[in-house]
């Protein structure tokens, strides 16, 4: 899995490319862990180029979400392919994660939260 990093308005934006599964999940977990060690607890994951996810990948995302919430941070996801979104619906994780249609919508939500 390739991970690109960017920052906008203090939100760390990670663009994921490839598969999120048993073999690739560890790399993402490590990347998020290193961000959190630098007190970056507001993280957005853009999944537009994730072409495969299974339960191992979901497990990594749940684990990351729990760590971030433990640190009073926030995790958002966006740009899920329809068949990736389907996996979140089947497992009911769509109710647990904050999922946005686009990265822009997700980043706007950070702005509205900080203003209010």
């Amino acid at each position: 899995m390739e991970i690109t990093m960017n920052e906008k308005n203090q939100v760390q934006i990670l663009g994921l490319k490839g598969r999120l599964d048993l073999s690739s999940g560890g790399g993402l977990k490590e990347k998020v862990k290193s961000l959190m060690e630098e007190n970056n607890n507001t993280i957005h994951l853009n999944l537009s180029q994730v072409d495969f996810i299974n339960s191992s990948g979901l497990g990594v995302l749940v684990s990351i979400m729990k760590e971030i919430r433990l640190q009073k941070g926030r995790l958002t996801l966006s740009n899920l392919a329809s068949y990736v979104q389907e996996i979140f619906e089947i497992t009911q994780l769509s109710h647990i994660f904050e999922i946005y249609a686009t990265e822009e919508e997700a980043l706007s939500s950070y702005q509205s939260v900080s203003v209010s």
Partner: protein, 140 residues
Amino acid sequence: MTKINLSYQSIPESVDLFYTDVCNVLYSKGLSQAQCHRTMVVLTELFDNALVHGNNYDPVKRVIVALDVNEGRVIADISDEGNNGLNKINSRPQADTDGVGGRGINLVQHYAESLEYLEINQGGLKAIVVINYEKQFCEI
């Protein structure tokens, strides 16, 4: 009809090899990206289970895959060389919605037409799964 037999060493690198091998077969048979994704979700769950829980990443042990792709269906046998396989399957914990693990079997049951487990070779596990990849799922 395409019948393929595959065999993998029980090492982490086999996850990538299995994915690539099977995806290539599915795409060559004309499956769409969504059909391939649903099929691979099922097959990788069973493969990972054989690799991790069945063979416990023992490089001496193999995961054996027999794949039969015909019109509208994928039939796969995925076998490990582990111990006490049926008991492990029957005693696995249920998934909590916000738990880290345990969702694999739910996904398999959602997408597969049938799933059967057999104990083979004194404790190894063979999963036999049928996937109707032309089945329509609700578009999200």
